[in-house]
């Protein structure tokens, strides 16, 4: 007994206790990252289509979930049956009791479509302009052969719509605003000239529209006859099909090919089906753009403030208080910055700019509503403390001997700073910048108030003058996660997107952080320094 009491007093067991809490923390981190990676990366791998005979008839689909028997409830299997236009819902729970043996029919196919989610069933025939071209087993192969051409035609249509027609619309809008201004002045001749311009644009638009219609009809000329597992029939133009996956007939290389192609689509394409399918390229692009603008704003501001605090201000209690204040700004909740951004940048500054320069477009706001410039400014304000702290550390680490040597040789203070101190401090400043970027890429709350949207009609950077549109709203990876996960009409179908987007965001933020912290560690090891 005394041995137990003695060992308790010596506390060996408590060390294990403390070790358990640490193990728990580590398990949390690994579990989270591992879970997101597993669920995210696994979604694009094509899984086999399983057919079972249930009480309500045959069910064909991918198995996406499983719940074991519990209490009085029987076990259930979740099937992704697709065909939202026929069944009304993508997913279905089927009780495991009384299910026949599962089969994997070789001719079952999953068609990724532009509307209503995927189709899961069989292709019975393919027809061209009304007449059946191939029927039965060969229809699948024929469809796969014709698919690239119809996709190309559709992409052509989309490019024309976005490019040429979009340009026409922009010019018409510009003319409409000009006309409004001229009407106020009552200049009849100018108004008539404007009207002729509008008429010319209108006829160009009509000509373009005819071409578009022709191309579209051509793309729609190939039609598939489809049949679901329980015998319902449907016709689908080949142009609505994005990808054909004969899920039970694939070799490993085929599956890998589909996996990589889906991954590429995710990273490079636009979203469809209210963000639950397709890609997240606009979100990635918007995040990158915003972070770039934020960096351009935050580095000068942060470096100048740090220089002032350390080199130019008279060191006393006031400067120490200011330094403490700037550091503590890093702890202020990001929503407060968002509120300030909304109240000051968007409503006050933006409203003022609108009244001065864009009064013709009112009451539609140009700068008086959220936009990429205001969002970047808000985030710059948010991340300035990070850069200031890192820069101050870096400036403090530069050896006094270097500075004194430079001054002794007759250089002015500014020459010393610019030529000796700042280049030595540059890696430290870079660390601060990377940490700021990592923080800015992950913050969502202030962006929700200052310019991020669920679906942006156009990107902030495009081919029309002035090329970088500061007033446009943009999409953001973090907000995409929030929106698709919580505000989409079909959150079960959207989960793959959210996991992949989370994985992407996580990967970016973690990589940036590791890089910055490694850099900082190397600098500390190299320089030592009084501030570290």
């Amino acid at each position: 007994m005394t041995r137990l009491a003695e060992s308790l007093r010596r506390g060996g067991i408590f060390v294990w206790f403390a070790g358990t809490s640490l193990a728990f923390c580590l398990a949390m981190i690994l579990g989270l990252v591992g879970y997101i990676a597993a669920r995210g990366l696994g979604f694009f791998w094509p899984s086999p289509l399983v057919q079972v005979r249930s009480a309500e008839g045959p069910v064909l689909g991918e198995i996406t979930g499983h719940e074991p028997a519990r209490g009085e409830e029987t076990g259930k299997l979740q099937f992704r049956v697709g065909n939202r236009d026929i069944y009304g819902q993508d997913f279905r729970w089927v009780p495991t009791v009384g299910l026949g043996a599962p089969e994997e029919p070789k001719d079952a196919v999953l068609l990724e479509r532009t509307e209503y989610g995927p189709f899961i069933g069989r292709i019975t025939a393919i027809s061209h302009q009304g007449t059946v071209a191939v029927q039965g087993a060969g229809a699948l192969a024929e469809a796969a052969r014709r698919l690239p051409e119809s996709r190309r035609l559709l992409e052509e249509v989309q490019a024309t719509e976005k490019g040429k027609v979009g340009e026409l619309n922009r010019r018409m809008e510009r003319l409409r605003i000009d006309r409004k201004g001229l009407e106020a002045k009552g200049d009849q001749a100018a108004i008539q000239a404007l009207d002729t311009q509008v008429a010319a644009l209108q006829s160009t638009y009509e000509a373009l529209q005819t071409t578009i219609d022709q191309t579209r009809t051509e793309a729609k000329s190939w039609v598939l006859d489809l049949e679901t597992a329980d015998g319902q029939k449907k016709e689908l133009p080949l142009s609505s099909v994005v990808r054909i996956v004969a899920a039970n007939n694939l070799s490993v290389t085929d599956r890998l090919g589909i996996y990589l192609s889906r991954m590429w689509e995710f990273l490079a394409d636009d979203p469809r089906e209210s963000n639950t399918e397709g890609g997240i390229f606009p979100a990635i692009f918007g995040t990158v753009m915003m972070v770039l603008v934020m960096s351009v704003l935050v580095v000068p501001l942060g470096v100048v403030t740090a220089l002032y605090l350390r080199e130019y201000a008279r060191q006393g209690w006031l400067v120490r208080a200011v330094r403490v204040a700037v550091n503590n700004l890093a702890g202020v909740p990001s929503i407060v910055f968002g509120v300030f951004g909304l109240g000051f940048f968007v409503y006050t500054l933006g409203g003022g700019i609108d009244r001065l320069f864009f009064a013709d477009a009112l009451p539609t706001p140009t700068y008086g509503t959220g936009g990429i410039i205001w969002a970047s400014l808000t985030l710059a304000l948010l991340t300035v403390p990070v850069v200031v702290v890192a820069t101050e550390e870096a400036l403090g680490a530069v050896a006094r001997s270097q500075r004194e040597a430079s001054l002794a040789m007759g250089a002015t203070k500014w020459q010393t700073l610019w030529n000796v101190v700042l280049p030595s401090a540059a890696p430290g400043i870079l660390t601060g910048l990377i940490l700021a970027i990592a923080r800015g890429a992950g913050e969502v709350a202030p962006l929700m108030l200052t310019g991020v949207v669920k679906l942006a009609p156009s990107m902030p950077l495009d081919g029309t003058f002035p090329f970088f549109h500061f007033d446009r709203k943009f999409m953001h990876l973090g907000f995409h996660i929030y929106d698709v996960g919580f505000q989409s009409p079909n959150s079960e179908a959207a989960k793959p997107m959210v996991f992949m987007a989370s994985l992407l965001l996580l990967a970016v933020v973690v990589v940036l952080n590791i890089f910055a912290l490694n850099l900082r560690r190397k600098l500390r090891a190299r320089l030592g320094g009084s501030t570290f």
Binding site: S21, L22, Y308, G442, V510
Partner: protein, 722 residues
């Protein structure tokens, strides 16, 4: 070639310029930070500014029986029994074109128009007419002389017997399917109080229906309810009676204390304003308290000097005008704030514009006085934000946050207490989960772990710190919450199973040879625990369903409901605590670990040299020495937990409940701001209240972080001296 003195002077000029630029830039940044705080304060401050009252025009307009103000404040309609309806322009007082039509003059009775412009008239022929005064304004026309006053006259109701005094009328709009508008009247007739209902058209004579009342009650004023089914009567004996007219049942009665002189209704008409002959002003309502309904006073206002003559209510919010012969006041029903108090020249009639920003009073001699009232946020006061407030329809004062509703007469309720409560609750659960894990983990890492292990742990925790809170919130809301709902019993059992697993494994560990334990065990305990953790998970998966079946009847949710009366919400505080723990643990860990590692080696060596075990040293020497650092870490972690927005937004149900229980959600200040501010009307009350909330968050986290920083600096200086 430039001479050296030229180069030198140029360098000096650049130096001076850059010194100026950098100082300017630095001061600008610091100023920007300060400006941010001031801007937020400036946007929130107008909530607390006192209302301003400015006397406006004084005119002479001749005797009149009632007034009605137009919304723009540019025209007023005067009605009198002798001259009918006429209009004047404000503030000049010049007459505007008189409308034609209406019953023959002189009218026998006239009720003063209410804020909507409805007035009841008995024409010279004894028929009852209802006039709805409206201005037809050509679009964009601001000059009243171009507006058209066309009162819509409806009625021509013939009464069987002329009443002594019509007390109150209620217009019931026709429903669909061809039912027309009807009018309900209550009046004092020869032998008591009677009422009638008549369609608003000329038809056969309508008879009075007597209203049976308890004897000894002489009714001095009456008020119809909004649906015309109930009457509130005020008696000269100082009683208020609520009567259902169709059946004659007395629904409720209350004591007023002094003879009732005037009755009125605020916007929404779900409560009654009562004014007495000695000047007492109160609001009564019939609301549910517990099981039954109670009819009692729920707001009191400062007395008027002299008997209360009448009420007019604003159509925009719950402010109302009350006047006596000597003074007129505008009060807000819910906050009981007196927005305006002015003295009058004599008894007469008064009116308030529909927005409540212009008050007009006409005394018996026909002198018209007007005042403008600027009170943009009457529904907010310090007491309403922080104390329990009695709202209409509630049985007792409560803390309520309900900023928007579906109807026009919805009263927004802005108590910050549920939100602050939610913030504290979320922070509490987060710290409850995070603090022990982080501090114990930091203690282990700094005191017991091998350097190799430390090099793995610290980057791992730094990665944890870098996790975006969106991802944490998404996992909490869409993955952890359903998982917890399915496996709540298992999660609760886990600590016990872990202890059991440790107890099972411990004898095996002590069987291993001491050199093995010293080489691979000491400093790496954390790695050896991992298989124990997994073993415990397996044990809970087995034991969980068993326990649920044996003790909870197969379903823990029904057991919670029946045995403890708790409803289980899927998105509850346990989930939030766990997810916020992810966000807070790395912060507390990093700072605590710094503090623990900075304890001078001499102290630890001395303790070990005196024969203490490593744990005793850590627990009794290092931890207390570093406790200011741990305190500072907790402050910073608290600050982070208070301000966390995305996790709370996604992992709670965002319901502003005030309940410490772990099985329901919460609404925090930060999540509330994120949800409501995009839709808040610019410069409205909700907008400013949200800015106030942001200011509070800013102040609180700033103070916390400053305290933490000061403690840390003090600690650093103390160690330098050891």
């Amino acid at each position: 070639m430039a001479s050296s003195s030229n180069i030198q002077s140029r360098a000096k000029r650049v130096d001076k310029f850059m010194a100026f630029a950098i100082s300017g830039g630095g001061l600008f940044m610091i100023g920007a930070v300060l400006a941010m705080l001031l801007f937020i304060l400036k946007e929130a401050a107008p909530l607390f500014l006192p209302p301003s009252v400015r006397p406006a025009a004084t005119l002479q307009a001749g005797a009149m029986g009632g007034l009605w103000l137009d919304e723009s404040g540019k025209a007023a309609v005067l009605v009198s029994k002798e001259t009918g309806v006429r209009a004047i322009r404000l503030p000049e007082g010049t007459p505007l074109p008189t409308p034609q039509g209406g019953p023959d003059l002189p009218w026998r009775t006239l009720t003063p128009p209410n804020t909507r412009g409805e007035t009841l008239v008995t024409g010279a022929d004894g028929r009852i007419w209802l006039a709805r005064l409206t201005w037809t304004k050509p679009p964009g026309e601001n000059d009243p002389s171009r507006w058209d006053l066309n009162p819509q006259w409806q009625g021509g109701i013939l009464l069987e017997a002329a009443p002594n005094r019509i007390l109150h009328a209620r217009l019931l709009e026709g429903g669909g399917l061809g039912s027309s508008a009807r009018l309900r009247l209550v009046a004092e007739v020869a032998d008591g109080i009677s009422w009638l209902e008549a369609p608003l058209e000329a038809g056969p004579a309508v008879a009075w229906k007597p209203l049976p009342l308890p004897p000894g009650n002489k009714v001095s004023s009456a008020l119809w309810s909004a649906d015309g089914a109930t009457l509130t009567l005020g008696t000269e004996a100082g009683q208020l009676l609520m009567v259902e007219v169709e059946s004659g049942n007395l629904l409720a009665s209350a004591e007023f204390g002094e003879p009732v002189n005037a009755l009125g209704a605020p916007l929404g008409q779900s409560s009654v304003l009562v004014g007495g002959t000695k000047g007492r002003l109160a609001a009564y309502q019939r609301a549910r308290l517990g099981e039954d309904f109670q009819f009692r006073s729920f707001h009191e206002f400062p007395r008027l000097s002299g008997p209360v003559l009448g009420f007019q209510s604003s159509l925009r919010d719950k402010r109302f005008l009350a006047w006596s012969a000597r003074e007129a006041v505008v009060d807000h029903l819910t906050t009981e704030r007196r927005l305006m108090a002015v003295s009058l020249t004599g008894a007469g009639s008064a009116s308030m514009a529909p927005r409540g920003d212009l008050i007009l009073h006409a005394d018996e001699l026909g002198a018209l006085h007007s005042w403008t009232l600027d009170a943009p946020h009457p529904e907010v006061s310090f007491g309403l934000l922080w104390g329990k407030t009695q709202y209409e329809g509630y049985g007792k004062p409560e803390y309520v946050w309900q900023s928007t509703g579906g109807t026009d007469d919805f009263e927004p309720k802005f108590s910050l207490v549920p939100l602050v409560f939610g913030t504290l609750k979320g922070t509490l659960y987060a710290m409850l989960f995070a603090f022990p894990l982080a501090v114990l983990g930091a203690l282990y890492t700094s005191q017991f772990a091998t350097p190799g292990l430390r090099n793995v742990i610290k980057p791992a925790v730094e990665i944890m710190a870098a996790l975006p809170s969106v991802v944490l919130g998404f996992l909490a809301g869409l993955v952890m919450a359903p998982m917890l709902e399915r496996t709540a019993v298992e999660v609760l059992l886990y600590p016990f199973c872990l202890l059991l697993a440790v107890a099972i494994a411990a004898p095996f560990w002590s069987r291993l040879s001491t050199p093995f334990r010293n080489r691979f065990g000491t400093g790496r305990e954390t790695l050896w625990i991992v298989p124990i953790l997994i073993l415990a998970v397996g044990m809970t998966m087995f034991a969980g369903p068993l326990v649920e079946r044996l003790f909870m009847g197969g379903n823990y949710r029904t057991w919670l409901q029946s045995a403890l009366g708790i409803t289980y919400d899927q998105r509850n505080s346990i989930v939030v605590g766990f997810a916020m723990g992810f966000a807070v643990i790395p912060i507390i860990f990093t700072i605590s670990e710094d503090a623990l590692s900075s304890v001078p080696r001499s102290l630890t060596s001395a303790s070990l040299a005196c024969g203490a075990s490593p744990w005793q040293t850590a627990w009794r020497v290092v931890l207390p020495t570093a406790s200011p650092g741990i305190f500072s870490a907790t402050m910073v972690g608290l600050g982070r937990a208070i301000g966390e927005t995305m996790i709370v937004l996604m992992a709670t149900g965002n319901t502003p409940v005030m309940d410490w229980g772990p099985f329901n959600g919460m609404r925090t200040l930060s999540a509330n701001i994120a949800v409501e501010i995009p839709e808040a009307p610019l410069h409205g009350t909700l907008y400013r209240v949200l800015f106030l909330a942001a200011f509070l968050l800013f102040l609180f986290t700033f103070v916390l972080n400053t305290v933490a920083e000061l403690v840390r600096q003090h600690l650093r200086r103390r160690y330098e001296s050891i």
